[in-house]
């Protein structure tokens, strides 16, 4: 027997399903795809027009230059620099947006199309994003600035495609360092001006700090890909490598090499025999900085550029900050070097790309190349009590870097004497680039290995590394999209 009372309800339900299906079909058909074919001609045309000095169309760009959680003073320094930029280029409006690169938030913003017009990415992701057509070709615009060949080639290569076209501009380079708390050193009876020179020194100092002060003498990051990153750093410092690239371009994972095993053995001994690593083992980049600034960590390996973040986000006491070079052990050892690239969103008009490259030039590069730029940047920072003079690695050459430091020497307000153990030796250490293929996935596969060694006294280091090696090799062997 037919139930006619149910018919209208079932008709409505059917309508809803049909409507949803139509929406699904329409949406997937109309999803925006980057119009890379159209853009080079358009951008060539408009940049030619611009250089002829014709009137500029007002254009607005969103820049991801505001770090979440900074103090108001740090934000004010940025706003001041935006005002200077807008005074120089009156037709460009710059809207700052909160932006911080982490793998999950970047991936979600990339898929949603909500990345700012100018955003930063680590060196590790430059080539991968270029291959996936997720950042736009700005080669012509960057070369028009005139200093494209001054870049250190091993730094610039991270933002270039295989033909050498520039897709992303290097804005900062760092080398890994051993960061240590000078106050804790003093409390433990160690001399903060004579930081550890070898890994055995590090282990001994960690034990002393843990015994005398009760805090972790040495700590290691272990989550959000930073575990693998720091393990790679220590591996390089002991002469090992995580990936081997053959002449034909094939990449082999070498995660289970002897240097990595030695590093993990040492971590295991420090954790379970010396008990000098405290009781927290899930540090990521931000939480490690916070713990250090709070005086809960004696030493850790981290970037050479952390002082700024710790001051702006974690209320670091400047007297606590000490930094020295990572101890190198063995032939083939070196310092892991990384850095940041500035890239431009694919979903931008030609005028926006022009404006974006001008912003990159003004905000990131001018302070390294011209005295006016350097002094203007230093003035804006000191006016808001922000650090000036934090050690960095050159993205051009050493001479240019030294010159830029001379220009701002009257504005330097960081405790440079506390940083000389690093600055006096870093340029003598060989700099090694991060693993070249699927770097973040390599790091992600190593995080559980580091966590296991630090939380399980019976962790089988060889088995863990072999399993991770198989996992990474599978990722490396997967066919390219």
């Amino acid at each position: 027997m037919r139930s006619t009372t149910r018919r209208p309800a079932s008709v409505l339900a059917a309508l809803a399903v049909v409507a949803a299906t139509l929406l699904a079909a329409c949406n997937s058909a109309a999803s925006p795809s980057p119009s890379t074919a159209a853009s080079p001609a358009a951008s060539a045309g408009s940049s030619a027009a611009a250089s002829q000095g014709t009137a500029h169309e007002p254009v607005s760009i969103v820049v991801g230059a505001l770090r979440p959680g900074v103090t108001q003073a740090a934000a004010d320094a940025l706003f001041e620099q935006i005002k200077e930029f807008q005074a120089k280029y009156p037709w460009i409006t710059v809207q700052p947006e909160e932006y911080n690169w982490t793998a999950p938030t970047f991936t979600a913003a990339l898929a949603a199309g909500t990345l700012p017009d100018v955003f930063t990415i680590p060196f590790t992701d430059g080539k991968g994003l270029i291959a996936e057509h997720q950042i736009t070709d700005i080669d012509a615009l960057v070369r028009a600035l005139g200093y494209a060949d001054k870049f250190n080639p091993s730094v610039l290569v991270n933002g270039q495609d295989s033909a050498g076209k520039i897709y992303a501009v290097p804005t900062a380079a760092y080398g890994m360092s051993l960061t240590y708390n000078r106050t804790l050193f003093k409390q433990a009876g160690l001399d903060p001006d004579k930081p550890p020179q070898t890994w055995d020194d590090v282990r001994a100092a960690a034990k002393t700090i843990a015994e005398k002060t009760g805090v972790a003498g040495y700590a290691s990051m272990a989550t959000e890909n930073t575990g693998g990153w720091q393990l790679t750093t220590s591996t390089y410092a002991n002469g090992g490598r995580m990936e081997k690239v053959a002449d034909d371009g094939k990449v082999t994972a070498t995660v289970n090499n002897d240097a990595t095993k030695a590093v993990l053995q040492r971590l295991k001994a420090m954790r379970w025999d010396d008990k000098s690593m405290g009781s927290t083992f899930d540090y990521a980049w931000g939480t490690m900085n916070q713990a250090f600034a709070a005086g809960q960590v004696g030493m850790f390996t981290g970037g050479s550029d952390l002082y700024t973040w710790m001051i702006q986000n974690a209320s670091l006491k400047p007297d606590d900050y000490g930094i020295t070079v990572i101890p190198l052990d063995g032939s083939d050892s070196g310092v892991l070097g990384g850095g940041t690239l500035a890239a431009v969103n694919v979903v931008t008009t030609a005028e926006q790309r022009d404006a974006a490259v001008k912003w990159i030039d003004f905000y990131y590069i001018q302070k390294l190349l011209t005295q006016d730029g350097a002094v203007a940047d230093a003035k804006a920072l000191t006016a808001n009590n922000q650090p000036v003079g934090v050690p960095a690695l050159p993205i051009f050459d050493k001479a240019t870097y030294d010159e830029s430091q001379v220009w701002i020497k009257d504005y330097i307000n960081v405790p440079t004497e506390q940083m000389t153990p690093f600055t006096s030796k870093i340029f003598d250490q060989p700099l090694i680039n991060e693993p070249v293929a699927h770097t973040q996935e390599l790091y992600a596969a190593l995080d559980p290995v580091v966590q296991a060694v630090l939380t399980d006294p019976n962790a089988d280091i060889n088995a863990l590394l072999d399993a991770a090696n198989t996992q990474v090799q599978a990722v490396l062997d997967a066919p390219a999209p």
């Binding site: 409507a19 795809s33 970047f106 898929a111 990415i121 996936e132 009781s279 083992f281 899930d282």
Partner: protein
Amino acid sequence: MGSISEVAPVPSVDARSRAARFRVTRAGLATFAFLLPMLVIFGLFAWFPIIRAFVMSVQDTNLVSDPVYVGLQNFQRVLADPLLGIAVRNTAWFAFLALIFGFPVPIILAVLMSELRHRRGLFSALAYLPVVVPPVVSVLLWRFFFAASPTGVFNTILGWFGLGPLPWLQNAGTAIPSIVIEATWAAAGATVIIYLAALVGVRPELYDAAEVDGASLWQKIRYITLPQIRNVLFVTLILQLIATAQLFTEPLLFTGGGPANSTMTVLLLIYKYAFQNSLGGDYGMAAALSLMLAAFLAVFTAGYYWLTRRWGVDS
């Protein structure tokens, strides 16, 4: 049809349906107009994503480049992933612990609170307070409390009783039990309120009869209270199992899946497929695992209702 209407004074089926049809079509347009906003919103935010998920599960897509249809490859890759077995095991272990520890707690609280003569409202509000706190806030607070150093909040409290500092979230064996404790605290209040309402419906004569027969408090609970609210218990049990199968916020914010993947759950694995690779997420695999989880929960729920059908009471 005709023989039935001769026996019983019921209008014939034809006449009834004619009257109903007339009633519905006269009110039809207005009804449809009122339903339309709900249908649009429901369609846009529930049905559209579900259909999109079915489509994405057979595609290789990072939601930026053009998708490629790959048939059942995503499902095969998910099933071949060693992390899937770990995630399923961890989720099952959490569900089991939440059942043993977390399921009885609201029942006990509700029974205790129903004995109160005064201040029942105050205790209800206090029990419900953790539910009102946003989950992210609760988890981050508890993460601070769970600090594994001897000066962490919980370790300090344990120290007052002479108990050693526990590693809480820093050890693979204690991480999931720690999350169970927080999850129970956060969710117990809502079920306590439900049980209190159900307990009010238990007829007092049953307790009086038991009193006369000389039943102890425990016997009263076991033979009267629990059987009388068993329909509610069946529903809250399946709801809890479905919710624990979808555990996500707690492992994400407490440990990120660590230490060493010991708190990796199925939903966290879906999140990892979708968002961990900064060069572009694998949304096809994420959609495939989501559908597999949904299918499993649907089959599980159907089986559960079939099994408990015989034990329930048709009221």
